[in-house]
Amino acid sequence: VVLRKVLPALVILATLHGCGGGADAPSQDGSLQVALLTSGPVSDAGWYAGRTRVCMVIRDSLGARVSHQQTRTPAEFDEAFVELGSAGYDLVFAHGFEYQDAAIRASARFPEMTIVVSGGGRVAANVIPLIFRLEEGSYLAGMVAGGMTRTGTVGMVGGVAIPPAVGPSGPSRPGPGP
């Protein structure tokens, strides 16, 4: 019985990594408590890279306590939101479209916690989609590609065709230039 109570606590400690030497545990001093959730490896070259800088920037600029968790499955997404909500976190950056349903599920239970879902599509009182207009950058990249191609053919290699990924890639077609 004791083990059952202790084990989840250990799991929480094991999965809540501090950011750049930041706080592992939520603060008691009233400063903003911010968590970052990612579902992929932070070692890659794109979407997840630079999370350490994310944590540091928010910590240093706002004096916030910041932690990071990597969660892989929808079940872990739900668990993470419950853990963070129960621990009194103010703000969670759920960095990916895949978090949106779990965020909606957690929103009513933790109305004081703001969940910002990168590339999310769903809205609730405390669930805010953060929409990056990457199409603006890929439009310019498309202009360069369209202007530089000698063969008249440009390739686009995409990952998963989720709506936020398809959104930007469409206008990257170099056709509709000025």
């Binding site: 992929g40 794109g46 599509g121 950058g137 686009m156 077609r173």
Partner: protein, 382 residues
């Protein structure tokens, strides 16, 4: 910029398979692409490597970075990167939260907020013609001032055409609605009041033990069998197909568990046969069928070699051929295929790691994971 440019598009199905991304990149380079854009995250290392290995002085090839400034990842092949300055975006949001000033609505960040940008690679910038750089800079200014609005595919609640999930679903017509279907074979009742509703973009798995009636249900939908009672509605109208051919005309295709492919024939010949059986085959030029097949394979990501004999293919490849056969026969038919409209709300759409997507011209989309794929006794595209 250049309306004559052809864009090849491939989705690998995940974000971190470097080998798959490289393979896709190599295929695009072989097909004549000399500039590769990507949105495949860690997979981009494969894209850059493919470009690096194929570039020559006579036929230079380049790539574009994406999501973050990747110019230093492959400084020898990247012309520039479309970047998201994520820390700055998060900081902006966190400030708004602190100030209690973040309304419950989507928060957009782009060029105007300096969160999105295009950053030329300083090492290769000299390769880009000055006038092109000037036009890019002018376009960047127009975007920042709001003068130029870059279109995006809407997917966020509140954006045009995006339905709010959890509502009544009004306004979205079910692709397929089976109501109270009953089918009896002699004394055996195979189905006693079976109902099923499927909306555009959904994938349903039908599970049941042997004899539960799964096959019967799908045979009713496919027009192979006629129901004793009940109703079949397709795209909202009452349309009980009386034969598989009628079902195809209505936009229903069935991929059979036991393949209906001729082993000695090639993929292309099998596909052509499928068209023939539905009335367009004879006299239909083989080159046209090949072209359509390759275009559809490209569009759906269901890769096949048209000239491979089916008998040498593994099961998954045969399954792909069957699906392409069904989709191709539908795409030939006026009034089906294209009439399905937009995919359902993002909330209905599910993706799992390793899943693939199927694109249809109408914008509806299905996805499946390899496990559900093999577990489903029947599979179809809603």
């Amino acid at each position: 910029v250049n309306p004559g440019v052809t864009v090849l598009e491939t989705f690998t199905g995940n974000w971190d398979d470097v080998a798959a991304a490289k393979e896709a990149a190599v295929a695009q380079l072989r097909r004549g692409a000399d500039i590769l854009i990507h949105n495949v995250d860690a997979g981009s290392f494969g894209v850059f490597q493919a470009v690096r290995e194929s570039t020559t002085a006579e036929a230079p090839r380049y790539a574009m970075g994406m999501n973050r400034d990747q110019n230093d990842v492959a400084p020898d092949v990247i012309l520039g990167s479309a970047v998201i300055r994520i820390p700055e975006a998060f900081l902006t949001v966190a400030r708004r939260v602190l100030a209690g000033d973040l309304p419950a609505e989507p928060f957009y960040v782009g060029e105007a907020q300096d969160v999105i940008d295009f950053v030329p690679n300083p090492g290769l910038e000299e390769l880009i013609p000055t006038d092109l750089l000037a036009r890019v800079a002018a376009a960047r200014d127009s975007i920042r001032s709001g003068e130029l609005v870059v279109p995006r595919v809407p997917f966020v609640e509140g954006e045009e055409g995006v339905e709010v999930p959890g509502g009544t679903g009004e306004g979205v017509t079910a692709s397929v609605e089976l109501r109270e279907l009953r089918k009896q074979f002699g004394p055996v009742v195979a189905l006693a009041g079976a109902s099923l509703t499927a909306f555009p973009g959904e994938v349903h798995a039908l599970l049941g033990e042997n004899g539960a009636g799964k096959t019967t249900l799908l045979n009713l939908l496919d027009g192979m069998l006629a129901p004793d009672s009940g109703e079949i509605r397709i795209q909202g109208s009452n349309a009980s197909p009386r034969s598989p051919r009628e079902a195809v005309a209505l936009g229903v295709g069935l991929v059979h568990q036991h393949f209906t492919l001729v082993p000695r024939f090639t993929v292309l010949e099998n596909v052509a046969l499928g068209l023939g059986s539905r009335g367009w085959g004879l006299g239909w030029p083989m080159s046209d069928v090949r072209e359509r097949l390759l275009a559809l394979a490209e569009e759906t990501g269901l890769g096949v070699d048209p000239d491979a004999p089916v008998e040498g293919l593994e099961v998954s490849a045969r399954q792909r051929v069957e699906i392409l056969k069904v989709l191709l026969s539908r795409s030939r038919d006026p009034g089906s295929g294209r009439a399905h409209g937009r995919a359902g709300s993002p909330g209905r759409w599910s993706a799992s790691s390793g899943s693939s997507g199927v694109w249809r011209p109408g914008g509806a989309r299905s996805s499946w994971s390899p496990t559900s794929w093999t577990r489903c006794s029947r599979w179809r595209i809603g």
